[in-house]
């Protein structure tokens, strides 16, 4: 009996991500949620600008490629046009927490009944490793070569905490994909974020603390350790909003 295989909601196109990039794990978790809920035929995904820009090649459901940061607005349009469809956006930290922050906050504030998967790896991957809104204090990147100086470059944005100040969101959780236990928790959270939409509960966002070995300049496993040692202490995992509870 097969106990683990590639989910149906992923296409056969090989992922272009770097070795050890956790986007692949998160793609799989999204696809598993879609499979488990049996919603592939009515799901429409919105791809971001960033490393996951070509997510539209990987998910087997209908896909729309949005402009940088605008995925929540595009998702809003799709959901309003087709309320019975299941709409998710898949966005990185530059996309969701910097250029698209206005769309993120406003869509959450409206309680739009969509699912947002937010991949926080504290760096701009696609453009080659520049400082992200979520880069840690002191983190060395191409555009913070002496380390992120909070005096001039400010502090990271904590999206779950920020959105938890709003009335409307139904579900906000921060998870990580740095070890088996955390991946399994992330899987449950992502599936819940989709199930909420199926049940009409409203805006659900899962922030996934993840790794970028290439641009962090680390071996893949070393990057996962860095998630554990540096990222998670700054971005505490847990549920920030759950209207069910």
């Amino acid at each position: 009996m097969i106990v683990f295989e590639k989910p149906k909601a992923l296409t056969d196109v090989p992922l272009h991500y770097c070795p050890g990039c956790t986007h692949g794990i998160i793609h799989r978790l999204v696809a598993q949620a879609i499979d488990n809920l049996g919603i592939e035929g009515r799901t429409i995904g919105i791809a971001p600008v960033g490393c996951a820009v070509m997510a539209y090649d990987y998910f087997a459901c209908d896909m729309i490629e949005a402009a940088h940061g605008r995925a929540p607005a595009v998702a809003t349009g799709v959901k309003r046009a087709m309320p019975e469809s299941i709409v998710f956006s898949y966005q990185g930290d530059g996309d969701l927490a910097s250029i698209g922050l206005c769309e993120t906050v406003s869509t959450a504030a409206r309680g739009e009944n969509i699912t947002v998967i937010f991949v926080n790896n504290a760096i701009y991957g696609m453009t080659g490793g520049q400082m992200a809104p979520t880069s840690l204090p002191g983190q060395v990147t191409q555009t913070s070569p002496y380390g992120r100086d909070v005096a001039t470059q400010g502090y990271p944005i904590k999206i779950c905490e920020l959105l938890a100040t709003l009335e409307a969101p139904a579900y906000l959780e921060r998870v990580a994909v740095n070890n088996v236990k955390n991946v399994n928790r992330a899987k449950k959270a992502i599936e819940k974020a989709f199930r909420n939409q199926v049940e009409g509960k409203g805006f659900s966002l899962v922030e996934v603390v993840s790794a970028c070995p290439t641009n962090w300049g680390m071996e893949p496993q070393q990057a996962l350790d860095w998630v554990q040692d540096k990222m998670i202490p700054y971005y505490p995992l847990g549920v920030y909003r759950d209207k069910e509870v």
Partner: protein, 356 residues
């Protein structure tokens, strides 16, 4: 259905959009087009449609992009500074070959400019409002009736050619009240089943709406194909109106409100024995190049009347290949030329005078 009602241009436009099947409107308040949003806010909830006040013009155009991706009619409206913000989204709509209607009720600029009427977004609209090689259909109404009729036309063309269409009105057209016969309530039928992102229902390979093509030869191919489509738009959809051109020695070129003012001036000029006619472009893109080129064979000179520094004049000169002199009567910053000012220019043109 031929009953005339008295309506503001902005409201006639909104009602016409609803009557031809638009059920999704996304906007952000900005003078002088806010009536469109207010009208949609009142009407849409009553007819099962969607009105959403977006957080910004950028969000509004991207919501339009989302609806357009499902093959349905969507509309947004704004004025110059807001349209500048929408340009990113318009480029993506064009790049993904999506239909959408964008209303621009321009105001004087640049920058925050003013809130009085202007035609200073002519370049912005006709050169492809955004980055990259593309065009949008640009329609210029000169009456409240045309505000309604050209709105329907905009949706038709957007769907037929899978491209964005822009209604370039101006503050006077938007605010003016005139009797109008509203179009019949006949939704535009479109079959988008071979491309729209509406869910696979497990029956087909996924549809992807995107403007990203990383292989240069593929991107080039799509650009070429798009421009072949544009040639068809030029061939089939170029629209203009001629007024007293039969014996004209001077040809006025004006669109929108300035065409109405010019019309008065032409009557006055003819009373003085100056033979003036007018070509009024209704589509600014595609521009009525052939009509102007034909006119250049007959008239002695052209006079453009514009509420900008002479943006359309360049298109006139291009269309006639500079074979005849083109002079300009212009007011900017929200100022509207008077019939007398236009008449002055016509007199000067009749004497072979230069641009003032």
């Amino acid at each position: 259905m031929s009953e005339k009602v008295l309506m503001k241009g902005n409201e006639a436009m909104a009602e016409a959009a609803i009557r031809c099947g638009c059920r999704h409107y996304f906007g952000y308040p900005i003078t002088p087009q806010t009536e469109v949003a207010a009208y949609m806010a009142k009407r849409m909830p009553k007819i099962g449609g969607v009105f959403l006040q977006a957080e910004s013009e950028i969000a509004a155009i991207n919501m339009v992009y989302g609806v357009a991706s499902t093959g349905k009619s969507a509309m947004t409206s704004s004025s110059s500074p807001g349209i500048a913000l929408k340009c990113e989204g318009i480029s993506y709509l064009a790049g993904a070959d999506l239909p959408a209607v964008i209303v621009n009720v321009p105001r004087g600029g640049p920058g925050l400019g003013g809130i009085q009427p202007s035609q200073s977004d002519y370049f912005l609209a006709t050169r492809g409002p955004g980055h990259g090689d593309f065009h949008v259909v640009v329609l210029s109404p000169a009456s409240v009736q045309e505000m309604a009729d050209l709105t329907v036309k905009a949706f038709e063309l957007a769907h037929r050619y899978r491209m964005p269409a822009m209604i370039l009105a101006d503050g006077t057209m938007g605010q003016m009240m005139e009797p109008v016969v509203l179009p019949e309530g006949k939704p535009i039928e479109v079959d988008a089943s071979d491309w729209a992102a509406v869910g696979t229902e497990g029956k087909r390979k996924h549809h992807v709406i995107s403007s990203l093509y990383l292989q240069p030869e593929v991107l080039e191919k799509y650009n070429f194909e798009r421009y072949e489509r544009y040639e068809k738009v030029k061939e089939n959809e170029t629209a203009w109106e001629e007024y007293q051109m039969e014996d004209a020695e001077i040809c006025v070129v004006a669109h929108g409100i300035t065409a109405r003012i010019a019309r008065n001036a032409i009557v006055m000029a003819r009373a003085e024995g100056i033979k003036v006619g007018m070509i009024r472009p209704i589509t600014l893109w595609p521009f009525p190049e052939k009509a102007l080129a034909a006119a250049a064979d007959k008239v002695n000179s052209f006079v453009c009347v514009e509420m900008n520094m002479g943006q359309m004049k360049e298109d006139v000169e291009l269309a006639i290949r500079c074979r005849k002199p083109v002079s300009l009567c212009r007011r900017v910053g929200g100022m509207i030329p008077t019939s007398e000012e236009v008449l002055e220019q016509l007199r000067a043109a009749a004497k072979g005078g230069e641009q003032k």
